[in-house]
Subunit: 132 residues, 2 copies
DNA sequence: CTATTTACATAGGAAACCTAGGTGCATAGG
DNA sequence: CCTATGCACCTAGGTTTCCTATGTAAATAG
């Protein structure tokens, strides 16, 4: 019940949400609701997408050809009503777009580090410690 | 005359511009025009602020008490007209705000790495190579 | 003497998020 | 039984934060 970390200011997310969606889909198809939970899980609740933002974003990514969707039919109990959900998967074009965006993110993060300077070394050290 | 690296998509900057301004001022007072050039210099032209964004941003940071400004008078040649420019410096409150924002940035960057996953290892390796 | 650079500023627009609301079915708890 | 919560989709309207375009004015370069 305790929230160890307060949620991250959503302004920082601007411009990156689509990239994160593509990154999640890189590891396999998923429907919108599942993407929301996957991001929360991967970031231990630090980041979470709003449905009101995510669904239009998915439609947009599909419009640009970066993802493709299919309606999956989930059969109800014997004879019962079925439910549907929309499953998205990364296209070839989306895969290329993801690479581009990851490179752009890396360049941007590096630029921030350069400007913020000495405070940055701490970040690097922290990352290295997490990896080795 | 050659541009080695194309400029970074300004959408990625969203939410971070104020932080970068505070970071530059941490290293000493500066006027608006100089801040623009300092950021371009530190990032080797990858990032640059637009004047139409920077000046309102500085006014905003001053309104919030994170920076303070003084009009500096630059004397013209003997007997000539003087010019003025507005020099900003970081306040105590601004220093604290900068720490908060740098921590927020680190948390956000870490969250992005977690979501983008394996592609991230490349990033780390690249950063490490740059440092050692 | 004209163009560029330095240095400040405002106004209006676009992009990308947010909140608030709505639909419908399934399942759990009282 | 029936109400609340969770799953799963969606739209509309608002806010933040950047952008472009434009303007002023003095100094310097060509």
């Amino acid at each position: 019940m305790q929230k160890e970390t307060e949620p991250i200011d959503s302004n920082l997310l601007k411009g990156n949400m689509g990239t994160l969606v593509l990154a999640v889909l890189k590891d396999g198809p998923a429907h919108g609701y599942a993407i929301v939970h996957e991001v929360r899980k991967r970031t231990e609740d630090a980041l979470h997408f709003r449905q009101g933002t995510l669904y239009p974003m998915l439609h947009d990514l599909e419009g640009k050809g970066f993802v493709a969707s299919e309606w999956e039919i989930i059969p109800g109990e014997a004879g019962g009503g079925e439910k549907t959900r929309r499953v998205y998967s990364l296209t070839e074009s989306g895969r290329a777009e993801l690479s581009r965006r990851l490179r752009a993110w890396q360049r941007f993060a590096a630029a921030v580090e350069k400007v913020t300077g000495s405070a940055q070394e701490l970040t690097f050290r922290r990352m290295i410690l997490r990896f080795f």
